[in-house]
Homo-oligomer: 369 residues x 2
């Protein structure tokens, strides 16, 4: 009901716009890095990095995506409802006893250890699964010793429909890191010992390490959502989110007064402070206190004082009173100041900033059908 949505947006203190067209454009942009015939899957775990798997999933399906990765069984069950036909793989794997749930919802487990391989081959020999080989993350995936045991047991392998064999890089965002070629070599060695299946090593950043890393399937996540896969270089991706929030109050603050909790920020001169209704409970992390900035009518204003649970304060001294006034909008994320910029101010990475964007924002999707 558009009118209800209009009311909700009008009264919301902050609005998060999610541009599904930009997600699709990023899909096409990444495709251009690939040789013909290399397939591309999409990683939309953590509720599509916080942007809403129920909206992002169908948008990527329309863009041509046929294989989706999520983290947990619960995420897979939820995604199945909006993508009744797509292939959906579960990165967390299949814990003992959960196999029937995978089958019921037609979800493909990423088999992370030999126990999972054995149980799946017994329970569902005809249903596809993905092998995950660890090559140096030491987090999830079959170890080299487990690959040894697997290759020593051809009967086990014969009872599996292997949809793909995957691994994951630890340092793909550092192109010169020696761990990248080391993991690549380990992956090749393991692949050579296993039955032929489509291989997948590259997520977002690794796509830009070159075609040696692409194999048959790449599986970007972050880059689809506008996070720069090339830290330190210009971002080839489009921003997918914009966040604006209303000014609740503007106040004159005398020189010598302090702003916010802990009285940590003392005003050196008579100032004007605008308070907006975004705080760390909305994912504007407290580590960004006294750091970073926002924009009012295109002019940047610094964040001052500690970020509190529901509020943050901006120094709007010098901004015209008819622009910095209660009810006026401040841009927290836009095309010129994106999720990676906000993350840097919060001393973290765009991935964390994006996934923690809060649940109190009125969410508006652009390009939804």
């Amino acid at each position: 009901m558009p009118s209800d949505r209009k009311v909700a947006t009008d009264r919301a203190n902050a609005i998060l716009e999610i541009d599904l067209r930009a997600v699709a454009a990023n899909w096409r942009r990444l495709k251009r890095e690939l040789a013909p015939g290399v397939r591309m899957a999409a990683v939309i775990k953590a509720d599509a990095y916080g942007l809403g798997a129920a909206q992002v999933g169908p948008a990527l399906l329309r863009a041509g995506c046929e294989l989706f990765f999520v983290a947990s069984l619960d995420e897979g069950i939820a995604l199945r409802k909006v993508l009744p036909k797509a292939r959906i793989a579960i990165l967390d794997g299949a814990l003992a006893g959960s196999e029937a749930e995978f089958a019921r919802h037609r979800l493909m487990p990423v088999l992370n250890d030999l126990g999972q391989v054995t149980r799946w081959s017994k329970a569902y020999p005809r249903k596809p699964a993905i092998f995950h080989l660890d090559t140096g993350m030491e987090r999830l995936g079959l170890s080299r010793a487990e690959v040894d045991r697997l290759t020593a047991n051809p009967a086990l392998l014969a009872h599996l429909d292997v949809a793909a064999i995957m691994s994951h890089l630890a340092c793909a965002d550092e192109p010169e890191h020696p761990k990248n070629p080391e993991q690549l070599a380990r992956f090749r060695t393991a692949l050579a010992r296993l039955p032929k299946a489509p291989a997948s090593l590259a997520s977002s950043s690794a796509i830009f390490l070159g075609r040696a890393y692409h194999f048959q399937i790449v599986r970007p996540g972050a880059a689809l959502f506008g996070i720069n896969p090339l830290p330190g270089k210009p971002n080839p991706m489009r921003a997918t989110v914009a966040l604006r929030a209303k000014i609740l109050q503007v106040r004159d603050v005398d020189a010598g007064e302090t702003v916010g909790y802990g009285a940590t920020h003392r005003m050196e001169r008579p100032s004007r402070i605008a308070t907006i209704a975004v705080g760390y409970a909305d994912g504007w992390l407290r580590s960004a206190s006294d750091r970073g900035s926002a924009a009012i009518a295109g002019r940047r204003v610094p964040l001052v004082g500690r970020i509190s649970m529901d509020l943050l304060t901006l120094d709007v001294t010098g901004i015209e009173a008819d622009r910095a006034k209660p009810g006026a909008y401040v841009d927290l994320l836009d095309d010129s100041y994106g999720i990676d910029d906000a993350a840097e101010a919060a001393r973290t990475i765009g991935y964390e900033m994006l996934t923690l964007l809060g649940r109190r924002y009125a969410r508006v999707y652009r390009g939804a059908r």
Copy 2:
């Protein structure tokens, strides 16, 4: 449907238990600090600090709470549905044009500036509102200059039903901070100039600053949820949350191998690593990478390597294999390692850690009716 809930909990990778009895016990504990006749309200903004206002609100109502504070109009409208009769106040105030929404849902605005006071007195002179005076936060609330203008306009005051006059301390968690008596004095001065109404200055920590800070209404939030209102001293509050997560995989890691993104954590000796399905997207902040710990069957194990979006890794070397195994539970938050401990590992405060606890956990409420 309990059976559905059982299935959801069985297949969940992580379970957040929220003990509403502990919330009620904390309510009673805080009450003991108060002189007879001092009333206590509850601040349950940010979805009751992340614990669920729809569950926490009714639990506090049963404990005797009659006045609830939330941050935004949207939070108030949601809370009204589960608390049809309680008084609910909105800390963000009433932006121009939103007054009718307050009236429609019987929500009480916290009037933060003179414009809000004027509009409310014109629109709803018979409906109660709360005055918020700034005494040194410089965030929300009427300035001293606005109080001057207000007292110069007795007609305006005559047209208002003032349910309370409040202010908020910047440094209540630092009992020796000179800002506390300074704000107290400013508050007293302003109160003396305004018509008599119940006064409220103290939130959680300020309750422990002594009865001079209590006035007629105190309004705790964090302490109700178990956050220590006395940093550096023993916590007088009960823990309200417990978080446990399943081990997805346990692996042997050779000496010299690195764990996780960035290859930042190198194992000095042959080790065993357990991977669990909690990551920064679940609010286990990335700033806790290589810091803090969890417990397996009562034994503490350190978190090693970087926290990733959906996973973290624990060094379980030396823990018996029948305890540290896939499907076994790890305690991330319990009575002996609480939200403040986890926050310290993440270099933040319990307030942020609590409000960011994620949406992927299966949530189980104890003591719900």
